[in-house]
């Protein structure tokens, strides 16, 4: 056969292979987009030995939920026990509400120092009943271990300021996290749903050089060179700063162009699932990849947008090592909680959720994401497509020349 003939055959074979691969990857099912994720911090929970389960409540903010990826560890062993993921709806009437405001962007604007004569506060609205604590993002590196920090919860009333004192929490610095979210727990307030509150944080015996630092965000960045993303302000309240010459009263500050909100979270009892399992998927042990996100794909759940779900992992009988889900011991995912053997626990599991998206929309979105913000022709979808087709032609030429017979 001539060189041309061989080259043409090579091209046809290459094209057929690529189309087959393309079908496998591109066209064999609905497009899926990831909207919700909690990155991994490479901390291993207990192994999923028989009888052990680990789970996480999540919220699906995209289309029909169709896949959950969970980061699993097998400590380098090539074979793991099969893992089953059960998906259970959570009867949560307020899944979209930001009942735990989170830190926006990837950094903070200001670090406010709490020391003697320097209290601070924040007003907020509780959207749920049984408010039982407040998390603050703090840094207590320089705070003396025996120093006491006091959080007070006040009813926020328009006519009287401050309103009625509801709760007082005292914590010693040595009992706090050094860096991260620190919970100030108190007796649950049963009728907290829809109520406005003010919390204040103060310290009686901490000097300026020993300040407890709390983080808060600004609406607008004062310095344009600051390399962090812009923040958003909490819509249901504002930061309240004292006038230091008039302790202990606290005055509201109406508007201030550079003030924003203290980074905080509210603690409520977790809403646990009560409905039956709607999807159950098993992943064979040989397909579990160590230290990576493992996909559990299932039939899309219609009408699941905006709803809360609980996924539960358990290992099934089989050869191999029991995998361990990877998680962060600190509460980082604000819309749900980690569970171990069905019991709520501190921490956040590492996961991603994918929802369905129309194929055209997915391709358009992918094209925008790859192509956006790049100079020149880099990342242009048509250029990339042309390069893929061009590779086939070039590969055909190489193979054709290689197969050309010569004595």
């Amino acid at each position: 056969m001539s060189v041309t003939g061989r080259t043409i055959i090579g091209l046809i074979v290459g094209l057929a292979l690529s189309l087959g691969l393309g079908w496998l990857f591109l066209l064999s099912g609905p497009a899926l987009e990831c909207r919700e994720e909690q990155p991994s911090w490479k901390y291993h929970l207990g192994a999923l030995v028989p009888g052990q389960t680990a789970g996480q409540t999540i919220i699906n903010r995209g289309g029909d939920l169709a896949r959950v990826d969970v980061r699993l560890g097998t400590f380098g062993w090539p074979l793991a026990k099969p893992v089953r993921l059960d998906l259970i709806p959570v009867d949560d009437p307020l899944p979209e509400q930001r009942y735990r405001p989170m830190a926006a962007g990837h950094g903070v604007g200001w670090s406010f120092r709490i020391y003697r004569g320097q209290p601070m506060g924040q007003t907020f609205v509780a959207h749920r009943p049984d408010l039982k604590g407040i998390y603050l993002l703090i840094n207590s590196t320089w705070t003396p271990p025996e120093a006491v920090v006091t959080l007070k919860l006040w009813q926020d009333e328009l006519a009287v300021f401050p309103g009625k004192l509801l709760r007082t929490v005292k914590l010693k610095a040595k009992d706090m996290v050094q860096r991260g979210f620190q919970l100030f727990p108190f007796e649950p307030i049963v009728d907290s749903a829809g109520q406005r509150y003010l919390f204040t944080v103060e310290a009686d015996d901490i000097g300026p050089g020993q300040a407890l630092r709390a983080q808060f965000l600004t609406e607008r960045w004062q310095y344009e060179t600051w390399p962090y993303k812009r923040a958003f302000s909490y819509p249901d309240g504002q930061c309240v700063l004292p006038f230091s010459e008039m302790p202990p009263e606290i005055y509201k500050i109406a508007t201030n162009s550079w003030l924003g909100d203290i980074i905080f979270r509210l603690a409520y009892p977790p809403v646990m699932p009560t409905e039956p399992v709607v999807r159950s998927v098993s992943k064979p042990g040989w397909r579990i990849t160590d230290n990576d996100f493992n996909a559990f794909t299932f039939k899309p759940i219609p009408g699941s947008q905006g709803k809360a779900y609980y996924f539960r992992l358990r290992a099934e009988p089989g050869w191999g090592i029991a995998p361990t889900p990877m998680a962060d011991p600190v509460d980082r995912y604000p819309y749900g909680c980690l569970t171990i053997n069905g019991v709520p626990s501190h921490g956040s599991m590492s996961f991603r959720t994918y929802h369905t998206a129309p194929q055209e929309q997915a391709w358009e979105l992918l094209g925008k994401r790859i192509g956006g913000n790049k100079p020149g022709w880099l990342g242009r979808p048509k250029v990339l497509l042309g390069l893929v087709v061009g590779q086939l032609v070039l590969l055909g030429l190489v193979l054709g020349l290689l197969l050309r017979r010569r004595p």
Partner: protein, 471 residues
């Protein structure tokens, strides 16, 4: 089976164009900081670009006057470019550890930084992608050197050089690294140049040009990256092999005893004498913090030095040592093929199998006894030297990560300076493994498999991870 000279040239051009196309795709798909430490490398060469301004106390209109301003400018561009993507790479790493330092110099930073300054590219995003494309050019040059170097060592119509270039051009990790900002690209190019001269010397015989070229290439490689000193034993072995007939023939047992004693003394000094151990560690570019242990005893043949480190780290009866070695080996092999991002983006493990089998076939072919060495003495000698080079490079990597930096990963990209011997070894072994009548189709199939594995890596792993869309 053979190829014409023109056929080989056209095939090489097609391969280079294929690599360029793949590299363009990787440069487009990999987000900024999508390969290890890319942001830090970019900050360093931007510092070079603006150093003269900073030294004069001046500033570019968009910058301030400090190294922090170089970093902040880059961080702003990084954040601007990553708006809309699901998760910027290492968001917390953008500011931390990114401020460049004047003391941290490299030929790569100097060359590209000055090039940017000379062309006048001030926009950080344009500068970033321009550097990526320049690095891609270095990758293209490496492939050309692989082909040309193998050509010196093979018969004129042999397809082995083409196979070697095909392997170099189809390794996903090599293409991804070439499409990112990294001094590893220049190190790979410098080492490839050394191997090219060494192949020329081996294939065309000893001449002043070849010797001088080899020497200058070695010096250039070491200037670019100190760890290229692993190449120097090759010079010594090559010289000794060449001169054995003239210099070593007929020597007495006393002579050889003296050589052995001198070698033993040298090794003992390196192992037991800390000042020399420190020098050796520093010369080969490794961190020497382990050898600055205050427990060290300065007595010759005493306790401290590298011997203590070996005793600490090589624990043959400890299962943890073997587990660590196994993990290092697996990560090394995976990252030699495809391991993107900050060592976190990989295809599923079974997608490594097809390429792994193809590469294993080449290794098996190398082990086949040489039938009729006299028929291809150059190729036979080149196989031995290539195996030595790969062994030295791999040995240095594992020594570093098992002994001196036990908490770090042995990454496959550290082997890319030895890409010329790796690819030659594989190509020659693969070609010799099969009967003549099926060599061509099997080799073509192998190239097809390698290309498909690359497509899985970029579209199935990289795109899905970085853009969170599974089409």
């Amino acid at each position: 089976m053979s190829m014409t000279g023109a056929g080989r040239q056209w095939a090489l051009l097609a391969l280079l164009a294929l690599f360029a196309a793949r590299g363009w795709i990787y440069a487009s798909v990999l987000p900024l900081n999508g390969m290890p430490d890319e942001l830090e490398h970019m900050a360093q060469l931007r510092l070079v670009q603006y150093q003269s301004l900073l030294d004069q106390g001046q500033h570019h209109p968009s910058l301030g006057v400090g190294t922090w301003d170089v970093a902040a400018d880059l961080a702003r561009a990084f954040n601007r470019a990553t708006v809309g993507t699901p998760q910027p790479e290492r968001p917390y790493g953008v500011a931390a550890g990114m401020t460049p330092h004047s003391r941290r110099s490299s030929v790569y930073y100097t060359a590209l930084g000055r090039l940017l300054g000379w062309i006048g590219v001030n926009d950080p995003l344009t500068a970033w992608y321009a550097c990526r494309l320049v690095s891609l050019g270095m990758g293209l040059a490496v492939i050309g050197l692989v082909f040309s170097g193998a050509s010196f060592l093979c018969p004129p119509k042999s397809p082995v050089p083409l196979l070697a270039a095909a392997l170099a051009g189809l390794i996903p990790q090599f293409a991804a690294l070439a499409a990112s900002v990294s001094p590893e690209n220049l190190a790979a190019l410098a080492a490839a140049l050394f191997f090219w001269w060494a192949a020329r010397l081996l294939g065309r015989g000893i001449s002043l040009l070849n010797i001088v070229g080899c020497g200058l290439a070695l010096i250039a490689a070491v200037l670019v990256k100190k760890t290229a000193l692993f190449l120097s034993p090759l010079i010594i072995v090559g010289l000794a092999a060449r001169l054995k007939g003239r210099f070593f023939r007929g020597r007495s047992g006393l002579f050889w005893g003296g050589v052995a004693a001198a070698s033993l003394l040298g090794i003992s000094l390196i192992l037991f004498y800390p000042p020399l151990a420190n020098r050796v560690a520093r010369i080969i570019g490794l961190g020497f913090y382990r050898t600055y242990d205050p427990r060290f005893d300065w007595t010759l043949f005493g306790q401290p030095g590298l011997w203590e480190i070996i005793h600490d780290q090589i624990r043959l009866t400890d299962p943890g040592f073997w587990f660590h070695l196994k993990s290092l080996t697996v990560i090394f092999l995976k990252s030699l093929w495809a391991y993107f991002g900050q060592m976190e983006v990989t295809p599923d493990w079974y997608w490594y199998l097809p390429a792994g089998l193809v590469l294993l076939a080449g290794a098996v072919g190398c082990l086949r006894p040489a039938a009729g060495v006299g028929d291809d003495p150059v190729g036979h000698r080149a196989t031995i030297y290539s195996a030595l080079a790969v062994g030295l490079a791999g040995g240095l990597i594992f020594i570093r990560h098992v002994l001196l930096f036990p908490g770090t990963l042995a990454q496959g990209r550290f082997l890319f300076p030895a890409l010329v011997p790796v690819c030659f070894l594989w190509a020659r072994g693969f070609w010799r493994l099969w009967p003549d009548r099926v060599r061509g189709p099997v080799a073509a199939g192998a190239i097809g498999v390698l290309w498909l594995s690359d497509q899985v890596a970029v579209w199935g792993a990289a795109v899905e991870w970085f853009y969170r869309i599974s089409p």
